[in-house]
């Protein structure tokens, strides 16, 4: 088992063995997993994949582990929902929601990356796992780490949504709430990671962890009947998910599982934290960091590590980007819930609201087969819509009171 050839610097192409390392010692560029795609092409067929269990591990040859997986055994293979009501509302022909609001077990796409990261951490022999998180990663590492018997150190910005903090505490990790924003937490964690021999999933395990995001892309293609969509809209914090979805499509083409690839990749960000979309709109590849100010806290990364590569993918594929206000995010969360019955977290509101803008501006064709990557569940960020929902009807416990109210409702 295992088709990983090694790690390679994305900037200067220097090669490294498979180790818990994440930056090139020479130029500080990020390290990326390199696979034996020729070998994978020989054995991996649509039939082989379809014969396997409905989890992300059905694509195991394209994932960077060498032994049997030990974490997230039920994660992935979330529904691809054909969103006809929403399509009609926006005026589109064929729209899909990749619904990671129901990923097992913590209801966000972070279950995918953590499944890979902790399986790899176990292979490396670590007994402690850690992460810097905007919330969803904290959940996933807390939960998967508990099941895997790891000691867990979870670093979050203290300003996170209360429901996200409580959800992580349920798994009893060591939760460290840092008085600062995510970029401050990250800077601290890189120093902690220097000093302690822990598996920091988004630091020294990052090359392996990030590969888990590809599974969302593989699933989209398989669920569309082994076709890549015309357009995909991806929420961006660090920009990692966007680059990995594009990588997944390219790999499937390279190993011959799809014939044609013409997907345009679009970035969705909140206006209060939109360094990647800014670079796209200005047509530059230099990412200027910002101080985040948005209700979409899971996307509030002002210094996006993969921003440069995300920008390159968008430019290479002929995509574009849009950014949206807090009000637009809230409206979009409600729109998705009332048209498709899917309650997404704030990042999902960002994605839908951005997609609507991109359709209206003509960047996404109304006839294009379009997929929205919805990455997390709305129950995690309930605070965002408090005061913006309809109100319940209060009645007395008798039929008369109910019917008096009913009259008002159906009038």
């Amino acid at each position: 088992m295992g088709y990983v050839k090694g790690l390679k610097c994305r900037e200067c192409a220097r090669e490294y063995p498979v180790d818990p390392i994440y930056v090139c010692e020479f130029c500080f560029g990020p390290l990326e997993v390199v696979y034996d795609l020729d070998g994978i092409k020989k054995i991996m067929t649509r039939e082989l994949i379809e014969s396997r269990q409905h989890t992300l591990w059905r694509y195991i040859e394209l994932l960077p582990i060498d032994k049997d997986p030990t974490s997230g055994l039920n994660s992935g293979f979330t529904p691809l929902v054909k969103a006809d009501n929403l399509a009609k509302h926006i005026g589109m022909r064929e729209l899909y929601i990749k619904d990671d609001t129901v990923t097992h077990p913590t209801l966000s796409f972070k279950d995918r990356v953590v499944a890979i990261a902790l399986s790899k951490a176990k292979e490396f022999g670590f007994d402690t796992v850690a992460c810097a998180s905007t919330g969803n990663l904290a959940h996933a590492v807390s939960a998967h780490g508990a099941a895997g018997g790891f000691k867990r150190f979870i670093f979050i910005p203290a300003s996170l949504e209360k429901s996200k903090i409580i959800a992580s505490l349920a798994y009893e990790p060591n939760l460290i709430a840092v008085d600062g924003n995510y970029d401050d937490v990250n800077r601290l964690c890189s120093e902690v990671a220097n000093k302690y021999n822990w598996a920091f999933v988004n630091i020294n395990i990052r090359p392996f962890y990030a590969e888990g995001s590809k599974t969302q892309g593989y699933e989209i293609v398989e669920q569309l009947g082994w076709k890549a969509p015309d357009a995909v809209v991806v929420p961006c914090a660090s920009g990692s998910l966007l680059t990995k979805i594009w990588k997944s499509f390219k790999e499937l083409k390279e190993i011959g599982l799809i014939d044609d690839l013409h997907t345009k990749v679009f970035s969705a960000q909140a206006t209060g934290c939109s360094p990647i979309v800014r670079a796209i709109k200005d047509d530059v590849d230099v990412i200027k960091p910002v101080k985040p100010d948005t209700i979409a806290k899971s996307l509030a990364i002002g210094n996006p590590a993969d921003g440069y590569y995300a920008t390159k993918v968008i430019q290479e594929t002929g995509g574009f980007g849009a950014d949206v206000s807090d009000e637009e995010i809230i409206s979009a969360i409600k729109l998705m819930a009332k048209t498709e019955g899917i309650f997404a977290e704030t990042a999902g509101g960002v994605t839908l609201a951005s997609a609507i803008k991109l359709v209206e501006s003509g960047h996404i064709d109304r006839d294009a087969v379009t997929v929205l990557c919805i990455t997390g569940n709305g129950l995690k960020t309930r605070e965002a819509i408090v005061g913006h929902t309809v109100e319940p009807y209060h009645i007395d416990p008798n039929l008369k009171s109910f019917e008096a109210t009913l009259k008002k409702i159906i009038k």
Partner: protein
């Protein structure tokens, strides 16, 4: 008193395993160049042609230099400088 510079693991091989070294006050780029004299190779790891490399983050007293004057940001004695590789997270 000098400027304290925190060295990340990937560069500690150049500083004989030291996690923290001392440098002189002045601009960030002059600090890096003077450290390169003492620890040959450090300069080209972090910068290229007088500019910071794309994936290198430098903080002065916990503030990203890109919010100040990048490599021209001035540091004085007693300041703490951290060199940190870019880190992934979020989506």
């Amino acid at each position: 008193m000098a400027v304290k510079v925190k060295i990340p693991v990937p560069l500690q091989r150049l500083t004989q395993g030291k996690e923290e070294v001392e440098g002189n006050a002045g601009t960030i780029i002059s600090l890096i160049n003077s450290l390169d004299q003492k620890y040959p190779g450090l300069g080209e790891r972090v910068s290229e042609g007088g500019k910071l490399r794309r994936f290198v983050n430098i903080y002065v007293n916990e503030e990203d230099v890109r919010f100040m004057k990048n490599e021209e940001t001035e540091v004085k004695d007693g300041d703490e400088v951290s060199i940190v590789p870019a880190i992934a997270g979020g989506c």
